[in-house]
Symmetry: C2
Subunit: 353 residues, 2 copies
DNA sequence: TTGAAAGCGCTAACAA
DNA sequence: TTGTTAGCGCTTTCAA
């Protein structure tokens, strides 16, 4: 690899002049610029970003900590984030915590050692003292995506209105005549996402004057197996729910399995809605009602907030809450409570495009 | 952030001694080791990996170039890769090409500038001269995952036996009595994956003495929309296929949409098999026969090959071909050609766990 | 066994 | 307008 010295030597100038030309400083003669450009061209010189970063104090790299990259919602977020950061010349150092809160902490520390300029955090757990400590020790800007850490005033946040999403879904189900609604949530308390969704669910029940039956509210690890077990527990209740709100994505497949095992048909025997609008929801037959949000937008805002602080145009952290939207589909189209009024399954083709 | 000098000062030793203690060199007195350890502890010192990398010539970072992180197969690969690399102290710099071959090239160059020690490549296109040139210009070790670049002798490769997978699927369909089998492939010619699968498909037809009807073989960009259109084209043939082999994952959802639109039921009206065993295949009702492979294993081998070269235990690049396995499910269980012999749908519960 | 010095590749400050 | 110098934080000689 050619270095800046090689270029300087070939062009017959000082290394600092090469820098000046390359970085477009004022006060460079056309002649110098030309000679440097020619030398750069001839040697195929590309500046070493690591060395530049060491000197300049900024690595132009952002660390992204995710709980689980296999989750399609997160994969989409990482995709959009990488795109936005890349467009501004930032590299994306990915750190996957793989569902393990201990790795959240480890990842913060390791990314710090790698001198990332900023951090986007979608950790497994948001409230563990170790994580909060690690993030507090980190001096650069932070954007929490779908996470909330009250003690960390320095952090930006991009949140989605999960509470409203859960409420909208429940209201929709109540409108269809459902009175007993089961809830399959992720690990409550561990992230903003699940705290908000669970609160929204409970609030909606209260709004509609429905009793709150603890047996109908499940919280499970986000795995298919846990989803299957929790679903079976709901189905085995003396008075099983007529509608189910399913939460985390990896869990959803377990729910579908459980229903299938019992010969219970979605949309006919039970209404089903999910809190993340994933491919499976749209492809399922019948398509599943879901709370949708613009994930690309979430990522873009996250990138914006971070870049605003990195380019130091912005001194104060901000919190942005983005809207969510209920997409009603055939899985919740049959009205309960007054069978005569049962509507025909909604035409789903528009949704399926 | 405390630097090595701070530690040295506090411990009353030279910076180089701090290094020696930290890196476990021989010839360090217990006393020195103790003082350094105490100072490190007190200051909470963590070595700056960027600076260490600059000096040492190795960044302990690996660049991973992927065609599209949203594809679940790739997300899984990235997950396992990051885990394996992380375990060896390597960071993962993610570069997503987003389906754009030009970004493949850009990504190789940018990762080079970021001084990654090695490259794992799952590019959009594997044969573009620009990409080959960029990879050839790069001096470090390379592992191609599911990609093959004949001109690049320096590269390791981890391949899956996609040809055999496609053949197995076709043979299975022929066994069920199918004579007209449609094929929905990805962009043929652009990657090893699709060249092999398409070849396997054609070979299998020949093996079974079936005519090769070009109208039955489609190649499409890996998007739901393209999948839908290609599927409709197959269905609209004067003599439509009784079985369909669907390829890329993002395309599969389009295929399912198209079948649904036409009121064609998978497993009853048409047999369907897919070449990647994704969540949708297992969750679909009926479950869809698919070619399965151990993606974690692919990633682990990729990491191994790369690390072998990085730690320079290994001087010569290697190519590893991993097996694939057909998972027969209900979507292809009905025998065609002799309707009387139609088997009952396979019990799918074992698969669905 | 430890310290001093040099330098990885780049850039910013200072001088000319 | 350009060159010289110094130094980012670390590690590796070399010398003591």
């Amino acid at each position: 690899m050619a270095t800046i010295k090689d270029v300087a030597r070939l062009a017959g100038v000082a290394p600092s002049s090469v820098t000046r030309v390359l970085r477009g400083h004022r006060y460079v003669s056309d002649d110098l610029a030309r000679r440097v450009a020619a030398a750069v061209e001839e040697l195929g010189y590309r500046p070493d970003l690591v060395a530049a970063g060491l000197r300049g104090g900024r690595s132009h790299t952002v660390g992204v900590i995710v709980s689980d990259i296999i989750n399609p919602v997160i994969a989409q977020l990482v995709d959009a984030l990488e795109t936005a950061l890349h467009a501004q010349g930032y590299g994306t150092l990915l750190a996957n915590s793989h569902g393990d809160p201990a790795r959240d902490v480890e990842n913060v520390e390791r990314l710090g050692q790698r001198r990332v300029d900023g951090l986007v955090v979608m950790s497994v757990d948001e409230r563990s003292p170790e994580l909060v400590a690690a993030l507090s020790a980190w001096s650069g800007p932070i954007v929490l995506a779908d996470r909330q850490i009250p003690g960390l005033v320095r952090a930006n946040a991009v949140l989605s209105d999960h509470r409203r999403g859960a409420r909208a879904l429940v209201s929709h189900l109540v409108d269809q005549g459902h009175r007993r609604i089961g809830y399959l949530g992720g690990p409550t308390g561990s992230t903003y996402v699940w705290r908000e969704r669970t609160s929204g669910f409970i609030e909606a029940l209260e709004d509609h004057g429905l009793p709150r039956d603890p047996a109908l509210v499940k919280s499970a690890r986000a795995t298919p197996d846990a989803g299957r077990r929790s679903t079976l527990e709901l189905l085995d209740l003396p008075e099983p729910p007529s509608a189910v709100v399913a939460g985390p994505n990896p869990l959803l497949s377990g729910t579908l399995q459980a229903l299938h095992e019992r010969g219970i048909e979605v949309g006919r025997d039970v209404a089903l809605g999910c809190l993340d609008d994933v491919a499976v929801a749209v492809l399922h037959e019948p398509p599943i009602t879901a709370v949708n949000r613009d994930i690309t937008k979430v990522a873009q805002v996250a990138a914006e907030l971070l870049l605003a602080q990195l380019t130091s145009a912005e001194r104060h952290p901000r919190t942005v809450v983005l809207p969510v939207e209920l997409r009603s589909r055939a899985s919740t189209s049959r009205a309960f409570g007054n069978a005569e009024a049962a509507r025909p399954p909604a035409r789903a083709s528009a949704e399926r495009r």
